[in-house]
Amino acid sequence: MKLDMHCEMILEEYREKLPVFKKLKTAVMDLVRHCLSENNIIVAGVESRVKTEKSLTGKLELKGYKYRTLSDITDIVGIRIVTFFSDDVDIISALAEQMFEIDWENSVDKRKMLEIDRFGYMSLHYICRVPKTKYNDPAMPELNDIRFELQMRSTLQHVWANMYHDMGYKSDVEIPTEYQRNMSRLAGMLELADEQFSHIRKEINAYRRNVQSLVATGNFDEVPLNGDTYRSFLALKPFKRLSEKIAAINQAEIYEDSLMPYYNILRSLNMKTIGDIVRLRNENSDSAYQLALIQLAGTGLDILANSVALLNLCIVYILKQGFGEAGLLHLFNALYGENDYNKDRAQRIYRQAKQINII
């Protein structure tokens, strides 16, 4: 279809302004990425595009009569932020309101447009401008006058919209009625799943806050050992004193390494609460130090990983429980994977432990 003269003029203006649109897209993407990173928000993705001439021509062919000038078309530059959780859309929209000038008259919250008994496209669309306070290029002053579209939606809303679009439909009025019901059912299911994911996240966060406070108050016997509670416990640096005592043998510097790999070891040693780990430490610190002393004294080695303290505590505990060399071999296999060194190491440490009467 040939465009009329009015639409041809809009298309010509588009060609002239294309470098500004591209610059605007880059500027908005930089602002969005910076904002997400500053606010520690992890999203599933950020997409951007400048509408192609072909796509704009198609739009003008369909409804060119609606637009007086190119500036009436607000989605030449489009940015889409896809969040993992549906309630993050509200957080991101609040940040967008601080970052950009919002054209409220033309912005739509498709999430609120659906009737209560209808399910379908859910997304928040803001029409925005970049204020000069956020981005100012004296060579392109018109950049701040151009409106762009910012779409915000959750991953599941994105999935539904993409599937729908992939089938060749842009709005639900076009889809044959016999399929409309199935698409609506899917939309309803995804909306429910979105809500559940957000709900689960809230519950997990509440649980973490609760265990953090239990750990912080020292009610260790009431705190079951799991990944979250162990991490909170480690934040208290429970093995620091023993590490420092061991490091003092050679005036060594301590290299801080993750103690998370010991979580599964402690579980396999039948530690059920954080209180069990505290007892393991309190009852075995002296022997763990003696073991380090016999290994390190006279070596002059003046750098140590902080894991030495916890490793020696586990070694002493295993030996005192009567698991012997086999127990040590099991420990090393679990920590480092099965290899030829572990057996020698188990034998060596067993001998050292005998020497200092741990067993």
């Binding site: 790999p261 080695l301 902080n306 020698d344 060596r348």
Partner: protein, 100 residues
């Protein structure tokens, strides 16, 4: 201490021979410095003929390990003799560096 560094497909092979101690740690650090930059960060260190490492050597291996990990690569040390392995064990470096 002798060090031989060769490129092999997508990784760097390092063969160590002798002791790493105060007398040669600085030279060792200079020798491996080029391995701390560039693409293809994977390093394979053959320790068959390495007879000892002091704390200075451990610090250099730690620097290498951090540099390799920052570039999403992997460093593996292999064929350590029992004396060298003991140094890595008692300092907790066996937890930090992959030894096979």
């Amino acid at each position: 201490m002798d060090i031989k560094i060769t490129r092999q497909e997508n990784k760097t092979m390092v063969v160590l021979n002798g002791r790493i101690d105060t007398s040669n740690a600085e030279q060792f650090q200079q020798d491996v410095a080029p391995l701390m930059e560039g693409e293809n960060p994977d390093i394979d260190v053959d320790c068959t003929d390495m007879s000892y490492t002091s704390s200075q050597g451990l610090r250099i291996f730690l620097m290498l390990q951090k540099s390799v990990m920052a570039r999403k690569g992997k460093m593996v040390m292999r064929n350590m003799n029992p004396q060298v392995k003991e140094v890595f064990d008692i300092t907790g470096f066996s937890n930090i560096i992959t030894i096979v």
